[in-house]
């Protein structure tokens, strides 16, 4: 009885987001898509590389968004899934000589399995307790990757250097530009998949669980199955992002995937707006560019400046980019009248 009471009185951790508010309209989507396609033609290779990283972290944030915004479960362990994906791709490319594009689905599937299995014990936990359990996963991962048993494959502390793929069919574009478009296609595919997933029966089940677990199970939803499924899907997408990240950075090492990465992804999700999928890209831009801006303002106090900027964002727009988008939409609506 006490358990029921607890659940009943607990304030919902995540604000309920109706599923229609989770995506953008067609017009806006097309404009953003157009900008993303045209961007590399006008910028330096370095910026193209940054944009590639933007999409990759965007995918990882999106994955967390499905888990937290969709099914209401917290995770601070996304860096572990990201690392598994990155290492899977790197090992398959360097040791098995596999084509980079083929390694991504494998990374995704392995991470899906990994996430699904981790979801089993995580079922017993919720809220902050779940966050702590996933936190343990994130802290353990870099050390596991250093273990001597796997060193033959992982390269131990030294990590693995990955060869960057050339553009296929002799296309006259640079490696960076090719990789950007490749990442863009993968990102769009996963984005469409995610939107449809959340609109589907499974997506509705996720949201029902998020809003009220007891009510959801009373409606006949297999809570355990869908909770672990959310973990699996989220881990799978993160794994694909990790694999892409390994190819773009050309290097994997245990130190790349520490708890800092997990916290950055979490931060990206909050800044982008929990449960608002397009916000993932905004959140990803925040975690990539704002530290650089902070460093530009003060080198010695870059951490403090970053903290202040983050605080301002949370204070002024607590719902992140979603809130900005809603305000913008209302303004445009007024103009139209």
């Amino acid at each position: 009885m006490s358990a029921v009471q607890e659940v009943g009185t607990e304030a919902p951790a995540i604000e309920a987001v109706p599923k229609r508010a989770m995506t953008l309209g067609y017009g806006t989507s097309l404009i953003i898509l157009g900008l993303l396609i045209l961007a590399p033609m006008f910028v330096k290779h370095f910026i193209t590389f940054q944009l590639t990283m933007l999409l990759i972290y965007g995918l990882a944030v999106l994955a967390l968004n499905i888990l937290t915004g969709g099914s209401g479960q917290f995770s601070l362990g996304q860096s572990a899934f990201y690392a598994v994906g990155a290492y899977t791709s790197a090992i398959l490319m360097e040791h098995a000589g596999m084509n980079y594009a083929l390694t991504l689905p494998i990374s995704g599937i392995i991470c899906f399995g990994f996430g699904f299995l981790f979801g089993q014990p995580a079922l017993r936990l919720s809220g902050v307790y779940l966050a702590l359990a996933t936190f343990a996963l994130a802290t353990a991962m870099p050390q596991l990757l250093k273990l001597g048993y796997f060193e033959h494959w992982t390269g131990g502390v030294q990590g693995l250097v990955v060869t960057k793929p050339d553009a296929p069919f002799g296309l006259p574009i640079s490696q960076d530009t090719w990789l950007y478009y490749f990442t863009l296609v993968v990102t769009i595919a996963i984005y469409i998949f995610s939107v449809n997933l959340l609109k589907s029966r499974s997506g509705r089940a996720f949201m029902a669980i998020r809003d009220n677990e007891i009510a959801a199970s009373a409606m006949g939803i297999d809570v355990a199955l869908y909770k672990t499924l959310a973990f699996g899907v989220s881990a799978g997408i993160t794994g694909v992002a990790g694999g892409l990240g390994a190819i773009a950075v050309q290097f994997v090492a245990p130190d790349s995937y520490t708890i800092t990465l997990a916290i950055s992804l979490f931060l990206g999700m909050v800044v982008g707006g929990v449960g608002w999928l397009p916000g993932s890209i905004v959140g990803s831009a925040f975690i990539i560019f704002v530290p650089n801006i902070a460093e530009g303002i003060s080198k010695g106090l870059s951490g403090a400046v970053f903290g202040v900027l983050l605080f301002l964002v949370i204070f002024l727009v607590p719902h992140g980019a979603r809130q900005v988008a809603i305000v913008a939409q209302q303004l445009i609506g007024k103009f139209k009248k």
Binding site: G148, G159, G245, V249, D255, S256, K299
Partner: protein
């Protein structure tokens, strides 16, 4: 008005000819790659100012202060140094992003002293493909001395292998019948070291009677020590990082095992290892050094260290002179200044590497007397000499000659 026009054309053509003549002359002597001009040399750097290794960020700050001093004194061959230093938080992906930013956006001449084995491994391939010098990297791994495969990468500090060879040489000479027990950290640092020891012992490799490895995740290494003691060894080499080095010293005293004890230079810190382990337990321990210690009063009247202290007072008053990173940053920045000076007006990336690979007996102010930097097109390991030292009282006493860790001699 034809006359005026003719005059104008004549004047213009003279000007053009004069310009062509002067610029042609200038081209003959001055050669520049991206990042160098008549007035400025742009140098990139990557440091962990934040994150787990942020203690090393002091190195970048010392270097920035050093170049500020160079600029205040008129620059190098009349050119000011523009030192662009970015934070990578000790994260390899971030290091790649920052390296690309330095090369493609800031357009630096070279990337100088990036810190950390993982970060440097991550950017090595990129910089070598772009033919941008990755000069004097701040890590002790041996792999930076590989001019054949990576002609654009060069180390600076003695490699772990060089240091280990010095201990091997010492043992062969002073204790030829030693029975050696080794405890090493199971990572690139420990393995590099072990290889150096075995190479150094060469045919006398049988002197090693026991090897034990530990993981950094282990809470204590006591059981390894007990096991090593039971082998009857009379010499103990501790290839450990500070926390474990201190544990080992304590445990040795506790179980009353008194072998000849050698600790790696990484863990030779008085404040970080010897003091927590207890000075009374640390007496007689051996190690090796290549740089002077800012906290050691024996260098107070040393001309090189006087220059170093004067520099700290004027350009980096916040710096703590007991911090070994300051001595390091000063020495490595001085080496780069020397290389750029040697380049003269030929500031191409190729010439920078060529000059860096032709340093002869260069001695930065903060290195031990007698330790000299020598490089060649086949030798990309600038510092290879160290001096042995013994712990006595509350500080290290240097003894013996400067020894080279090169395998050839």
């Amino acid at each position: 008005m034809p006359s005026k026009r003719i005059i104008r054309i004549a004047a213009l053509s003279t000007a053009v000819i004069a310009l062509a003549a002067t610029s042609g002359g200038a081209l003959a002597q001055k050669k520049y790659d991206t990042g160098a001009t008549d007035t400025e040399i742009k140098i990139g750097n990557i440091m962990p100012y934040s994150g787990p290794a942020s203690a090393y960020g002091v190195i970048g700050k010392t270097e920035a202060a050093y170049f500020k001093m160079i600029n205040a004194e008129g620059g190098i061959n009349g050119r000011k140094i523009n030192f662009v230093s970015y934070d990578d938080g000790y994260s390899p992906p971030k290091a790649v992003e920052q390296a690309r930013k330095l090369v493609e956006s800031d357009e630096v001449l070279l990337v100088f002293n990036p810190l950390g084995t993982p970060s440097n491994t991550a950017i090595q391939k990129y910089l070598n493909a772009k033919k941008v010098p990755q000069l004097f990297v701040a890590t002790g791994a041996t792999k930076w001395n590989d001019p054949k495969n990576f002609p654009w990468t060069m180390g600076w500090q003695p490699s772990y292998q060089s240091e280990a060879r010095i201990y091997a040489k010492y043992l062969i000479k002073e204790k030829p019948n030693a029975k050696i027990a080794i405890l090493f950290q199971n990572d690139d640092f420990g393995k590099d070291y072990l290889k150096g020891l075995k190479d150094g012992l060469g045919a006398k490799g049988s002197m090693i009677i026991a090897e034990e490895s530990y993981e950094t995740t282990e809470p204590t290494i006591d059981s390894h020590i007990v096991k090593l003691k039971s082998t009857g060894a009379d010499t103990f080499i501790s290839i450990t990082t500070p926390k474990f080095a201190a544990q080992a010293i304590k445990k040795l005293a506790e179980i009353e095992w008194k072998p000849l004890h050698i600790v790696s230079n990484v863990s030779a810190s008085v404040g970080g290892v010897m003091k927590p382990a207890g000075f009374e337990n640390a007496q007689g321990i051996l190690s090796a050094a290549y740089a002077k210690d800012g906290a050691d009063p024996q260098w107070d009247n040393d001309p090189g260290m006087k220059k170093f202290f004067a520099f700290l007072d004027k350009y980096y008053p916040d710096g703590d002179k007991r911090d070994g990173s300051l001595v390091f940053g000063y020495g490595v920045a001085q080496t780069l200044a020397k290389v750029l000076e040697m380049c003269g007006d030929n500031l191409t990336r190729e010439n920078v590497m060529k000059q860096a690979a032709s340093l002869k007996d260069f001695a930065p102010d903060t290195l031990l007397p007698g330790v000299k930097i020598n490089t060649s097109p086949t030798d990309f390991a600038p510092i290879e000499q160290l001096q042995m030292m013994r712990f006595k009282g509350e500080k290290w006493d240097l003894f013996g000659d400067i020894i080279s860790g090169e395998l050839s001699n």
